[in-house]
Symmetry: C2
Subunit: 141 residues, 2 copies
């Protein structure tokens, strides 16, 4: 976890949160994370605790919020500061993070053309991921 401390101090709670987000193979809602952390802590945490954790982690680029799911994932790609694109599978619930500089440029250009100062962007694609597609195919469904 040491590599992630871009000025953020890693408390036990934050470590646990990051670790749970990593372990989950899909985005977790705040309340799902709340339940898992409560179990780990052996006591009931309150929603504000978890929302604060998530805010902090998101601000440091360690986690990301997925708007169309009201859920959160641990973020890969800490090296670059890029915002990313999510591919969200409707079958398995998985979230894949990708990146596209061309798309970035286009968005930036569009904003510029409109005289719009861009501070944040959300790009989320919903559909069916490759593994789930083949799974469905071989179902004969």
């Amino acid at each position: 976890m040491a590599c992630r401390q871009s000025g953020l101090q890693m408390t036990p709670l934050r470590e646990a949160a990051v670790s749970e987000l990593w372990r989950a193979e899909r985005p977790l809602t705040a309340y799902e994370l709340l339940a898992r952390l409560s179990e780990i802590a052996g006591r009931n945490l309150g929603p504000p605790t978890v929302y604060r954790l998530l805010d902090t982690l998101c601000q440091h680029g360690i986690a990301r919020r997925i708007e169309s799911l009201n859920a959160y994932v641990a973020c890969h790609r800490r090296e670059h500061d890029h915002e990313c694109i999510f591919l969200l599978c409707q079958e398995c619930g998985g979230a894949t993070e990708i990146e596209d500089n061309g798309l970035e440029r286009l968005l930036r250009k569009q904003a510029e053309t409109a005289g719009f100062e861009m501070t944040r962007r959300v790009v989320e694609v919903s559909g069916v991921c490759a593994p789930c597609r083949t799974a469905v195919d071989s179902d004969g469904a």
Copy 2:
């Protein structure tokens, strides 16, 4: 409103909803719309009524949901079937709808490369719109 009836029957409630979304110069939350429609109707509508209205309108491309605001706007550009890009101003709350075929192509290509079947996408840019930028500039702020 006649031009919008792509197989959707226009009831008084739906007309009122569309009309309110149009009149608002920014996205409305479901509960904001609920309040306005209740006032118009002269009685209290329930949340399900409004959420059903919005679902229906969104399904017919008459309205669109903005994920990062939990809010809804009337949709321009009925001609094309394009999904669109929103520029969301953090100052005035306004939402501008734009379109970019290049971006569309890029997204589609990315999905394809990942073997991902895309059924829906969300592209939302937050920032400050041109009018608000000049307003802030002349504030000296």
